[in-house]
């Protein structure tokens, strides 16, 4: 006997199909680097060192660093604005 059942999900993850990874630059030359620090462990120290290293070995145009106000929530709207308006590429990390 056939059965009718219901879809248990909240629908497709990308219903309009317009989400995709941002284009990857072929070079960091002239880019402004965003650093998103999640606040766990030595994340800030690590990303500071990484930013300094990239500034030294590439032609980066500058660094925008955001430190989340809490490890448990996303960056706040002001930090998102600083990133989207001030950076052209970004690096973050996760882990504890």
């Amino acid at each position: 006997m056939t059965i009718v059942a219901l879809d248990p999900t909240s629908g497709p993850i990308d219903p309009t199909g317009d989400r995709r990874l941002a284009p990857r630059p072929v070079s960091l030359s002239g880019q402004r680097l965003g650093l998103v620090v999640n606040g766990l462990g030595y994340s800030e120290r690590f990303l500071d060192a990484l930013g300094s290293e990239l500034l030294a070995i590439t032609d980066l145009d500058g660094v925008v660093k955001v430190v989340k106000s809490s490890v448990s929530v996303p960056p706040d709207p002001g930090d998102w604005s600083r990133l989207t308006e001030g950076a052209t590429v970004a690096i973050t990390g996760f882990g504890g």
Binding site: I3, A5, D7, P8, V71, V73, F94
Partner: protein, 333 residues
């Protein structure tokens, strides 16, 4: 009127095979959520399908009563279990339940669903011997229903928005009741402002579950000192967003409870004894400060059977413990 997309399968085996294929299950078989079953669940809770239970803004997800009912059917719940599932979903989706973090975290936090009030005995929520493990339909399916909502509706799928390094078995299901008649302690829900006759659910996000086993101590102070030492082995640093309301849950078994009942200790006295000892400055690698805001954040729950002199420490992930009332309508005779 139900809103979810409907499909037809040749039989229940075909549905189940497809449910596995589409990733709709936790790896165990599920019950096919037919429209008739889902409508029966909604009727018991007195909810319209489109009633919003909460949302996950970071994932652009809104969770409705229909979503919860579909997943409760799939989890194997009986209709009378559904009002408990609704309260648990509402608690989990509270802003300070911090669901995006607690279900996406590398640490693989689990959601403990603690049930209080008369509904425990009415629907068979276990709170005695073996209550944290398998063998009890209400416990097993209510906890599983919340997890299926988290997976299917809130999109916490391993490797996608569930980033757990290991995850753990508590993520299949974790629901139990408080043994409110064990002694003269004030039940958890009454401590949190509800009337004794009001049934409630408290959802607590658990990062670690640690046994504090002490069969030597014969005094309340001795049992609590061991508990403090075991709790401080890992410590807890706190979180800016969650402030001073992060809880710590102790599920105390009978062989420990009796020392407090015999000596006339209330939960409040236990909290006052524990608080300065848990929050004292770190003294070493395995003695770390537990950052709690208030003594009231130490939630003590009586449960379990006789035999082992044991209390379980449910150390928090990054969330408040959220308590919500269970609202229900009477089942038809």
């Amino acid at each position: 009127m139900l809103h979810a997309r409907r499909e037809e399968w040749q039989d229940t085996d075909a549905f189940l095979a497809d449910a596995f294929e589409r990733g709709w299950t936790d790896g165990l078989p599920v019950v096919a959520p037919t429209p008739e079953k889902v409508e029966a669940f909604l009727a018991v809770a007195g909810l319209e399908p489109e009633t919003v239970l909460g949302a996950v803004p970071t994932r652009e997800v809104t969770v409705t009563a229909e979503h919860a009912a579909i997943n409760a059917v799939m989890a194997g719940c009986a209709p009378e279990h559904f009002p408990v599932v609704v309260a648990a979903v509402r608690a989990h989706l509270d802003e300070h339940g911090n669901c995006h973090s607690t279900t996406g975290t590398l640490s693989g936090a689990a959601q403990a669903v603690i049930v209080n009030g008369p509904i425990r005995d009415e629907i068979g929520i276990a709170y005695g011997a073996g209550c944290l493990g398998p063998g009890f339909r209400a416990n097993a399916t209510i906890g599983r229903a919340l997890r299926l909502v988290i997976r299917n509706v809130c999109r916490s799928v391993p490797g996608f928005l569930d980033r757990a390094t290991f995850s753990w078995p508590l993520r299949y299901s974790f629901c139990f009741g408080e043994d409110e008649a064990a002694g003269d302690w004030v039940p958890l829900h009454v401590q949190r402002g509800f009337a004794p006759e009001q049934s409630t659910v408290t959802v607590h996000s658990v990062m670690r579950m640690i046994s504090s086993w002490d069969s030597s101590s014969r005094t309340p102070e001795g049992v609590l000192d061991t508990l403090v030492a075991d709790t401080r082995h890992h410590g807890f640093t706190g979180d800016e967003f969650l402030g001073d309301q992060i809880p710590l849950v102790y599920v105390m078994g009978k062989e420990h409870q009796r020392f407090f009942f015999d000596a006339g200790w209330s939960k409040a006295q236990m909290q006052e004894y524990l608080f300065p000892r848990l929050t004292a400055e770190t003294a070493g690698l395995h003695d770390r400060r537990y950052n709690l805001g208030h003594p009231e954040n130490i939630l003590i729950v009586a449960a379990g059977g006789a035999g082992m002199a044991e209390t379980w420490i449910l150390a928090p992930h990054l969330a408040w413990a959220v308590t919500r009332p269970i609202e229900r309508v009477t089942l038809p005779a």
